[in-house]
Symmetry: C2
Subunit: 190 residues, 2 copies
């Protein structure tokens, strides 16, 4: 998506060779007009999938997911992150290892809001190693729902999450794939 | 707001005499169509305030804030909750005591995204004792920005946050004020 790539080039901040900060428009301050263009793009990509619900994860996926949901005309469920591993008979739980934080957390979504009739679109702001999306996909699976696809704003193409998800047969669509951020210069996949 | 009150009566779950669960449409599963009606209502209430930015707090305020921002045509900043009290010269920090969790956490917003030219609308899903909103208002104050108002989806009128904020001169507008949830019955202020 050209608009997003241009915005990353304009406002993204590179730290070292693997950190791309986009908190001026994506995941701290949120440019809702840009989110609307992204939402339209996600709808173009997944319009034929009969999506019944969007699933995301707190916190920075929520804004994008809600704006996109307006085009699909479906509700959003956001999975909650918790450090507790306590059993919760009313919720689907999945464990996710965070490389950034160096620890495992549990993602949790109520059984009331995802069921076997659902065709789920997972939306998130970033894809790096893919662990968070795999946790959400596991919840979709536990619910007996169908995973219609995964929509990501920015994929870090130099980490292995994208490869992992595509090889497992998931319809993954990223609006911008950053292939490298060497020496402060950001490159994108075509 | 009649639509929200009706939805609370239809889908809200009362636990004991002080817990109102609305996670089927507001803060776990999110009804984005309802959020749009709420966004329009917030715009009606604050249209004359020349709002330049919406400030909310992760996680459940984000969806409502983003949808509402479309009517104000302004960006959203979401403050982050952290347990760390470490100094961060790039961020405004404020401490908030959570009665629900029985502990103090720090809310954090980057200094890059709120400044003295801003006229801020704070939006959140729930108001109970008002501590989270006071933390956000403190951040607005530290930034030298103006607090244009506070928009809340559901105010628990039987807790003291609303009184506290109104008495301190804040323009607080709640779309539904629950005055009691005694014996499973939900009552609203007029």
């Amino acid at each position: 998506m050209e608009l997003l790539k241009q915005r990353i080039l304009k406002d993204g901040k590179v730290i070292g060779n693997d950190i791309l900060k986009v908190d001026s428009f994506l995941n701290h301050q949120m440019d809702v007009q840009l989110f609307n263009e992204m939402g339209k793009e996600f709808y173009k990509l997944f319009a034929d999938k009969n999506i019944t619900k969007i699933l995301t994860i707190e916190s920075s996926g929520i804004g994008i997911a809600c704006i996109a949901a307006q085009y699909f005309n479906v509700p959003v469920v956001f999975a909650k992150k918790t450090e507790a591993k306590n059993l919760d008979s009313d919720a689907y739980l999945s464990e996710v290892f965070s490389f950034t934080k160096g620890k495992t957390y549990t993602v949790r979504a109520s059984k009331n809001y995802i069921n076997s009739n659902d065709n789920i679109l997972i939306i998130d702001d970033f894809l790096a190693n893919g662990k968070a999306v795999l946790g959400l996909a596991d919840i979709v699976d536990q619910a007996g729902a169908k995973l219609g696809g995964v929509g990501i704003a920015i994929e870090k193409g130099f980490q292995d999450g994208g490869k992992l998800l595509r090889e497992s047969g998931i319809d993954l669509q990223s609006l911008a794939i950053v292939t490298s951020i060497q020496d402060g210069e950001i490159s994108f996949a075509e």
